[in-house]
Amino acid sequence: MTRFSAFSLLKQALNGHKGWREQWPDSQPKAEYDVVIVGAGGHGLGAAYYLAKEHGITNVAVIDKGWLGGGNTGRNTTIIRSNYLYDESAKLYDHALDLWDNLSQELNYNVMYSKRGVMMLAHNTHDVQSFQRHVHSNRLNGVDNRWLTKEEAKAFCPPLNISPDARYPVVGAALQMRAGTARHDAVAWGYARAAAARGVDIIQNCAVNAIRRGPDGAVIGVDTAKGFIRARKVAVSAAGNTSVVMDSAGLRMPLESFPLQALVSEPVKPIFPCVVMSNTVHAYISQSDKGELVIGSGTDQYTSYSQRGGLPLIEHTVAAICEVFPIFTRMRMLRKWGGIVDVTPDRSAILGKAPVEGLYVNCGWGTGGFKATPGAAHLLAYTVAKDEPHPLNAPFTLERFSTGRLIDEAAAAAVAH
């Protein structure tokens, strides 16, 4: 692997960039691997990397039906934060944040993790109560998050409209300074390159049709578009398609897949210094390094695998953004796209052993999977290598849906009165 640096870039610039090698080879599947990971997104590629690096397991294949990083990794609005309410969530996402912090150096690939701060807007008394609860909980957990008055929020993000006459006036905000964004494609590519350098095979354009189990019920491999591949351990990290893959192993999941839409504006010079989220009006916004306003919306109401989504939701999302940031109505939408997010009943992920020997699952990240990428990858690798969950992902079991020990971030933010 050619090491990336300013020096190597300069050297290559002088010889017309002739010396760069492929960042990962175009692998064909072998007959057998120690571990097969289904899904070559950031989570799956990252898990392969950590299996190789931290657990010495290098006979690993990451298999994807399309191009690597082509699912939600390459379709999200790249928000990274860890200011979650429940201890279990905050610790999990903060673990990811710790890894994000050093990821460019770790992978020798600039993933452009930008700690520009994520600000969540409170629009009413209920929001204030809920965000204060987050702030205090985070503080005692050692997770960065603080409360801002609306004036402080405006100072931090000048385009913000804090007029009390707004339909949803801003009354304050919670700010996690350590949070921010990263370059989504670079995360997939950086992990792919680093994993491939340690011997991992990345097999693209090869659909996994079924997980095959032996007579004793344990996993024996996967049937793919390129034939059967033997493996005693299979980890499914297939986001929106998890239900379909797991079904082939005879397991039905507490998951539903919904379209999630996002859009970018035309690029402009820096105007928006941070990430702002408003759960009340359902919109999220930041500005990419390229200058585009990156805007995310909530999920469409119906389950779908179409990666399409409808116009009404986008209209609402844009309207919500313009309500909070009225200077943007004359900006133009450049591109709108959709992803498929897999959602659990309590809106928290499932990361651990499946009730089949040799089968592991990482899913249910809903709209928040990107921020978890290094953490989820790291913990999935641990769980696969040790055949038991790490304490950080131990609460995120499938079993919680029968015992009732839910980690309900969504319910905790539930609006009532």
């Binding site: 398609n241 379909v244 039905r252 507490p254 539903e256 109401q301 389950t303 179409s306 009404p312 849906f401």
Partner: protein, 97 residues
């Protein structure tokens, strides 16, 4: 924006007039107390999440009625809608991959 046929109003109307109501043909058990925790979990949380034809429920806000639909989740196209309480119709052959 999807177009949806309400089998009660017998009218095809835009999605904005409807709300999605989850997977269909998951009947509430007659005697929940007789169920194990796992069986009860299956009723509460386990979903088919089909990629392709999917039996699901919608509510027409206009008339207030819940009804069932068979919709292809890959194309988002409705294959049929039918009244609540009717048995699950078979999958149309041409949509089975």
């Amino acid at each position: 924006m999807l177009l949806i046929h309400c089998p009660y109003c017998e009218d095809t109307l835009p999605e904005l007039e409807f709300t999605y109501a989850g997977e269909a043909h998951i009947a509430r058990p007659a005697d929940p107390s007789a169920l194990s925790d796992e069986e009860w979990r299956d009723y509460l949380f386990i979903r088919t999440n089909a990629r392709g034809p999917h039996y699901e429920r919608w509510r027409h806000v206009g008339c207030g009625r819940f009804f069932n639909a068979l919709r292809d989740t890959v194309s988002d196209r409705f294959l049929m809608t039918y009244k609540a309480g009717l048995p699950r119709p078979p999958l149309p052959q041409e949509t089975v991959e």
